[in-house]
């Protein structure tokens, strides 16, 4: 029985190692999303997020977009308290979903901020992506100041595969072109 368990565990570990290896291979591909800058500023007891993110879609993503597939990019914001002896504490975690879709009839790109119910149309993809990556004074009500001394802001953006149409998801998970993800951008927060 123990052998069986070991055997199964070995199988599982091998699968996980393969998955991790493939994930690292995806990561080693061209970086499609880069966070240039990010900041949180407090104004009238509300934090305002400003960020500049460069989005660059892969061929698979562009093809899907032009075929009517809505792409959802999540921008995950975390407030992290750095601790010397323990792992960092996530004080707040917030996900801001943004969508981009192609309107066939109007031949425009629609960029939607689903959090704030904002929508803009763009005639070119680059303009749409630029608008997608420009976060200007977006109010973040979920974040509160609890007086922690050493806190960092953490931001990462990625394509939400789970928001893709269902049939695409299995292949998207194992296709490098769909692994659109930025590195985590961290900056110190001043109280």
């Amino acid at each position: 029985m123990l052998l069986r368990c070991c055997f199964n565990t070995r199988q599982l570990l091998a699968t996980l190692v393969l998955l991790l290896a493939s994930a690292s291979c995806f990561a080693a591909e061209d970086q499609h999303i880069t966070i240039r800058s990010a900041s949180l500023s407090l104004q009238d007891k509300t934090y305002l997020l400003n960020a500049h993110i460069d989005y660059s879609l892969s061929d698979e993503a562009i093809k899907a977009l032009h075929n009517g597939v809505t792409l959802t990019f999540n921008v995950d914001l975390s407030i992290i308290e750095s601790r010397s002896w323990l792992w960092n504490k996530h004080l707040n975690n917030l996900s801001l979903p943004y969508q981009i879709k192609y309107h066939t009839l109007a031949e425009t790109y629609q960029v939607s901020d689903t959090t704030n119910n904002l929508q803009h149309n763009f005639s070119s993809l680059s303009a749409a992506l630029h608008a997608l990556g420009t976060i200007n004074d977006t109010p973040i009500h979920a974040i509160t100041n609890d007086g922690a001394s050493t806190v960092n802001g953490s931001l990462k953006a990625y394509l939400n595969i789970e928001a893709l149409p269902l049939p695409m998801r299995p292949l998207a998970y194992i296709t490098a072109g769909w692994y659109l993800r930025s590195d985590t951008f961290q900056w110190p927060l001043t109280q």
Binding site: L3, R4, F7, N8, Q11, L12, T15, K63, A64, N67, G68, V69, H103, T104, L105, A106, T108, Q110, Q119, H120, N121, F122, S123, S124, S126, A127, A131, I161, E162, P165, L166, P167, M168, R169, P170, L171, Y173
Partner: protein
């Protein structure tokens, strides 16, 4: 007992796992439908199902490995397990594979059939039609915007702000905005006064407008409708100003256009997802196939193990029975044929066990009976001999050995002729038995007298045939007894009677005879002459002497017939022998004594034992009287095994003939000229009165040895 029983298998875990996996598979299948609420957990379901498949695969591999090990070890039931598993596997794989193949083909064909070039063209055409329809409208709106822009020519920025609202009221535009070349808003007005921020064009639209002096475009509005954005350069303004007019497409047209757009987009997306759909459906189908096959294989193993377990038990039980373990009981709760088989096996072993117990009990009873008979026979003073039909000795007892004075135990399975050859002294005895048993007499009795070890023995034989349980003759039994002591005692009694009568009849006239003879001598002595006196004296002396002799003889008879009352006391035999030996030390040339220092004292009549010893020593003395170098050896030792004192009085005299030895202890059996012939008879009587025995053995080359066995009697 029953170390290994069939375990009651619980199916809860495997059934639970299978149901969970099937449920997960169902959810996954359900999730592939577009409107399913399980869309969000589709990926999780895939992972769960893959893990489940891996789990089942692991189970299958471990079971295959277990089966392989069983097979290589040639374990009981491994072959039938392999066959059942292969059968199950074949039964499950072939139809499932066929179903999978055709389902997959059907699925692919069905998905492909959804898409058609004509439909593609139709969709494209409908989209183009929609665009054309909207194009006509947008062109007219563009003209309208140009007219509005012309009204704003040569106007300052302040005038633009004032006149823009008035212009919007004259048109169908929902929003009018004037902005600079850099996109800076100069003035704006909206049909909805609540809208404060105008719908500004993006940079690319702005650059296009600047480049072409005007721009027209269709855009989806925020509230799902369509808007037309027109931008026209306002001429004769410095710096350059642009007028943007936003027109809302009428609702009916917008809905139709949106419907066409949505349908086209949906079809386009659907067409794009064709391969992904095939992959997802195939994945779901494949997982269902894998589940089915793996679950069937697992079930095959479970079923095979379940099936083989009782068979293996039966084999082990049979092996145990073959090795002699009849207590083997197999446990089962099954109600099927295998359960019936196991119960039958248990019933069989139970019967065998009970039969063995009965046989064992019977054997033990027989052994007990045999031991009982052995004990009885061994303690019987009678001799018992058993023969088969070939007159081979089958059984004997201690009594037979003692009576015949030969160890017949060593002659078991010997025929009577072989016994005769081995023991020539029993020749007459065996010849008699052969004659008697061969005569087919049913039962016979015979008194048989023969000599053994110089002793005459009278045996009373009783022979009887032995019948088996089926009344067939199976052998013969001889029961015999040594009646010599009885005859001897009868003879002694007769002698005692004679002696008593003699003593009574003879002793009475002896005294008058003696007195008469003495009176004759006294009365006639004076009357007779010298010669006559001499004759008288001689005659009367002879009469007196003979009468004295007769008196002595009569006294001996009297003593023999009615011995004086015994007065036993604790005496030392060694001391008694030493005292008597001292008396004869001067009278005998060589009188040697060897007395054991450890002789125990015993209860005996010292007077009568002294009489015995004196009689025997005197007897030996008379035996060596006429030879040179005669000697008498007296020895006494304690025999611990029989707890008796053995006294030997041996001489090297002329001894006794073998023919006389047999009756030397009988009255009047003496060879001597003098004596009454009662000496040894009295000796024997006294020894027997003390519970002992006396025998005489000749000594080679000459002499005789009287051996007394006197039991030690303690107070």
């Amino acid at each position: 007992m029953a170390s290994n029983s069939i375990k009651k298998r619980t199916y809860i875990i495997p059934v639970g796992i299978l149901l969970s996996l099937l449920c997960s598979l169902y959810l996954m299948s359900h999730a592939t439908q577009s409107a399913s609420q399980f869309n969000d957990i589709f990926s999780l379901l895939i992972i769960i199902n893959i893990i489940g498949a891996v789990f089942l695969l692991g189970l299958l591999i471990s079971n295959i490995r277990w089966l392989w090990q069983q097979f290589t070890k040639q374990a009981v039931g491994s072959r039938i397990t392999a066959r059942v598993v292969l059968l199950f596997f074949a039964i499950s794989v072939v139809p499932t594979g066929i179903v999978f193949y055709f389902s997959s083909q059907l699925l692919h064909q069905s998905i492909d059939s959804w898409f058609d070039a004509e439909i593609d063209d139709a969709m494209q055409s409908s989209l183009t039609l929609s665009r054309r329809s909207l194009d006509n409208r947008t062109i007219s709106l563009m003209k309208e915007t140009r007219q509005l822009a012309s009204q704003l020519e040569n106007e300052t920025d302040i005038f633009l702000s004032l006149t823009l609202a008035g212009l919007r009221a004259q048109t169908n535009a929902s929003e009018l905005t004037a902005f600079s070349k850099q996109g800076q808003i100069i003035a704006t007005t909206n049909l909805d006064p609540g809208v404060l921020i105008p719908n500004t064009p993006d940079s690319s639209i702005l650059s296009l407008a600047k480049q072409n002096h005007e721009f027209i475009g269709l855009e989806p509005s925020y509230d799902r409708g369509l808007i037309v954005r027109t931008i026209v350069e306002i001429k004769h303004t410095n710096p350059k100003r642009y007028l943007q007019a936003i027109y809302t497409v009428p609702e009916d047209i917008g809905d139709l256009a949106s419907s066409v757009e949505n349908a086209y987009t949906a079809y386009q997306e659907f067409s794009y997802l064709r391969d992904s759909l095939k992959f997802s459906f195939t994945l779901t189908l494949s997982l269902a196939l894998i589940f089915s096959v793996l679950a069937a294989s697992w079930a095959a193993f479970i079923f095979a193990k379940e099936l083989v377990a009782p068979i293996r038990q039966l084999v082990e039980g049979t092996q145990a029975v073959a090795e002699g373990d009849y207590e083997k009981i197999l446990k089962t709760n099954r109600q099927d044929e295998l359960g019936f088989l196991i119960n039958s096996f248990n019933a069989m072993t139970l019967r065998i066990s009970s039969s063995r117990t009965e046989a064992s009990d019977a054997q033990r009873n027989a052994e007990d009976q045999h031991a009982y008979l052995e004990t009885v026979l061994s303690h019987l003073s009678n001799g018992v001999l058993g023969f088969d039909l070939e007159l081979r000795l089958k059984t004997t007892n201690h009594g037979a050995d003692q009576i015949l004075e030969h160890p017949l135990t060593a002659c078991i399975e010997f025929s009577l002729e072989e016994i005769s050859n081995k023991c020539p002294e029993l020749d007459a005895f065996t010849s008699l038995l052969i004659n008697k048993f061969s005569a087919n007499e049913k039962e016979w009795q015979h008194e048989f007298v023969f000599s053994i070890n110089h002793q005459k023995k009278t045996l009373f034989l009783k022979g009887t045939p032995l019948y088996a349980a089926d009344k067939t003759l199976s052998g013969y039994v001889l029961i015999f007894d040594d009646v010599t002591p009885i005859i001897q005692s009868q003879r002694n009694a007769a002698w005692s009677e004679v002696a008593q009568r003699l003593a009574h009849e003879i002793k009475n006239p002896l005294t008058p005879i003696q007195l008469s003879a003495e009176r004759l001598q006294r009365k006639l002595h004076a009357q007779l002459d010298d010669d006559a006196k001499k004759i008288l004296k001689k005659s009367t002396n002879t009469i007196v002497q003979q009468v004295d002799a007769m008196k002595s003889m009569v006294n001996d008879f009297s003593n023999f017939a009615r011995p004086p009352q015994s007065k036993p006391q604790a005496i030392s035999i060694g001391q008694l022998i030493a005292d008597i030996a001292d008396l004869y030390q001067g009278q005998v040339q060589h009188l040697n004594t060897a007395i054991d220092d450890q002789l125990p004292s015993t209860f005996a009549d010292p007077v009568r034992l002294r009489q015995v010893l004196i009689n025997l020593i005197k007897n030996a003395q008379e035996a060596i009287a006429d030879i040179d170098g005669g000697e008498i050896n007296i020895s006494a030792k304690h025999q611990k095994d029989s707890d008796s004192i053995q006294i030997c009085i041996a001489d090297n005299g002329l001894g006794v003939d073998n023919s006389e030895i047999e009756r030397i202890f009988e009255p009047y059996a003496t060879t001597k000229e003098k004596g009454t012939g009662l000496g040894l008879a009295i000796v024997k009587k006294i020894i027997e009165e003390h519970g002992g025995t006396i025998i005489i053995k000749p000594i080679t080359p000459q002499g005789a040895n009287f051996i007394i066995q006197l039991p030690v009697t303690r107070p």
